[in-house]
């Protein structure tokens, strides 16, 4: 009987970055264990909407299909998440798909997450090891600390935390929780720590840490379970100390 069962999708579509969004309904044949991406692939194979009209295939982004790349994030039934791990059997129907509108929409469900990569560049979310000569081995990192830092390193820049945050929007230049947590990760690394003050100064600037309003939606929404609000609170402490050092102290680094 499963051949006759249909899954109804209501997809918010948009033809190009400037045009108005509109909704289109699709009926997809049910298959056991299908996820949202497999349904979108089905629509792409046979782009006919629920009224039986031929339409353009729905555009979306995807890559790894195992929730480690972050590319296929979209708003599914009102909540931002990855479409690869959104199993149809666990979703209420009709399934509503929308792009994460915090980001510029390129087309349909495809968005441009460049602002996140720009933010990572701004906060220098890397460990500088390049020199004009061999700098030799860096300091060792305790195994327990490595295990702890690994949790923060799971961030896949998927953008779900930015979409969930009420303070990341076009009225506010807040960079969002993900790049902030990366500051904590790279400041914890024994070599990365050498640029700790520089990273803290950056997030004490406009659009930085202070724009967090503690709604804590990010930590609830993060698909990787990264302790984003703990990172933000820890950075609040670090920047408080840094601002005291800047004002009262002579040891700014």
């Amino acid at each position: 009987m499963s051949e006759n069962k249909k899954v109804r999708f209501i997809i918010t579509r948009q033809d190009d970055p400037e045009s108005q969004p509109y909704q289109e309904e699709f009926l997809v044949d049910y298959r056991p264990n299908m996820n949202v991406i497999s349904a979108l692939m089905e629509i792409r194979r046979n782009p006919v909407n629920a009224k039986g009209e031929k339409t353009t295939p729905v555009v979306w982004d995807m890559n790894c299909l195992e929730e480690v790349c972050g590319a296929c994030s979209m708003v599914i039934n009102g909540k931002a998440r990855q479409s690869c791990t959104a199993l149809v059997d666990q979703l209420e129907q009709p399934i509503r798909l929308e792009p994460m509108k915090t980001f510029p929409v390129v087309r349909d469900l495809l968005i441009d997450r460049s602002r996140m990569f720009d933010a990572l560049k701004r906060v220098k979310a890397w460990i500088p090891i390049d020199g004009t000569y061999d700098l030799g081995p860096g300091p060792r990192m305790a195994e327990t600390k490595r295990q702890w830092a690994y949790e923060l390193s799971k961030c896949m820049t998927c953008g779900v935390c930015l979409e969930a945050c009420p303070n990341v929007n076009d009225k506010n230049d807040f960079i969002g929780p993900a790049p902030l947590s990366q500051v904590r990760l790279f400041n914890a690394h024994p070599t990365g720590e050498m640029n700790k003050a520089e990273r803290l100064e950056t997030i004490m600037g406009d659009g930085g840490l202070a724009d967090c309003g503690n709604s804590q939606n990010c930590v609830q929404s993060c698909p990787k379970g990264i302790p984003l609000t703990t990172s933000i609170a820890a950075l609040n402490r670090d920047t408080a100390i840094q601002s005291f050092k800047n004002f009262f102290g002579s040891d700014k680094i």
Binding site: A164, P166, D211, N214
Partner: protein, 203 residues
């Protein structure tokens, strides 16, 4: 330090909300509570506050300047958010929204309250038990004051919670969780004190 202005403003906003504005709120509610001991007790307590030395300087330094900064910068913060409690109905997200709603209510309530009491006093009216009993004899004003006082106690308690996060005091989820209970307790205690005082004026 122009690039650090937003950071300093937000930290200052958080600090001023607790010290001195929050401390002043607690003090104000406790003085009001004298009304439960009768008009004479209230008038004596209010008279003591009124006759503090350097009163006008104390008022400007402890109340007017900090609260004006807190209110104006707070309104700026309110309009920077796009609330999404319908999509993300988590407890903290609701608190985030209510912190902003009560903040806006308080700007209106405090402006009216200062006009009705302190500014009238500057014009020669006497601030005493009878003045408040007169204001609160109107059911509309009583409801307005109940909403105002509850907004103030909520805004202070929840603001205290985020003060502890914003200054990096409560970092771990557990400490933040315990602080939620502590601030709920503060909200209940201050609300009871505030309500008892309000109803003492209509007894």
């Amino acid at each position: 330090m122009a690039e650090n202005r937003e950071f300093m403003n937000r930290r200052l906003h958080s600090l001023l909300g607790v010290i001195p504005v929050g401390i002043f709120l607690v003090q104000h509610l406790i003085v009001n509570h004298f009304a439960t001991r009768g008009p004479e007790a209230f008038n004596a307590a209010a008279g003591f506050m009124e006759n503090l030395p350097f009163r006008i300087i104390l008022e400007f330094v402890v109340i007017y300047i900090p609260i004006l900064f807190h209110a104006i910068y707070g309104l700026f913060i309110v309009f920077q958010a796009k609330n999404n409690t319908r999509r993300y109905g988590f407890f903290r997200n609701h608190m985030f929204l209510w912190q902003r709603i009560t903040g806006v209510i308080l700007v209106i309530f405090i402006a009216w309250h200062v006009w009705e009491t302190r500014i009238q006093a500057a014009f020669g009216a006497e601030v005493n038990y009878d003045m408040m009993a007169d204001i609160l004899s109107s059911p509309f004003m009583l409801i307005f004051y109940i909403i105002g006082v509850l907004s103030a106690t909520f805004h202070f308690s929840n603001g205290l919670w985020s003060f502890f996060v914003s200054w990096g005091i409560t970092v771990s989820p557990r400490s933040q969780h315990i602080m939620t209970y502590v601030t709920v307790g503060i909200f209940i205690i201050l609300s009871v004190i505030g309500m008892r005082a309000l109803f003492a004026f209509i007894a």
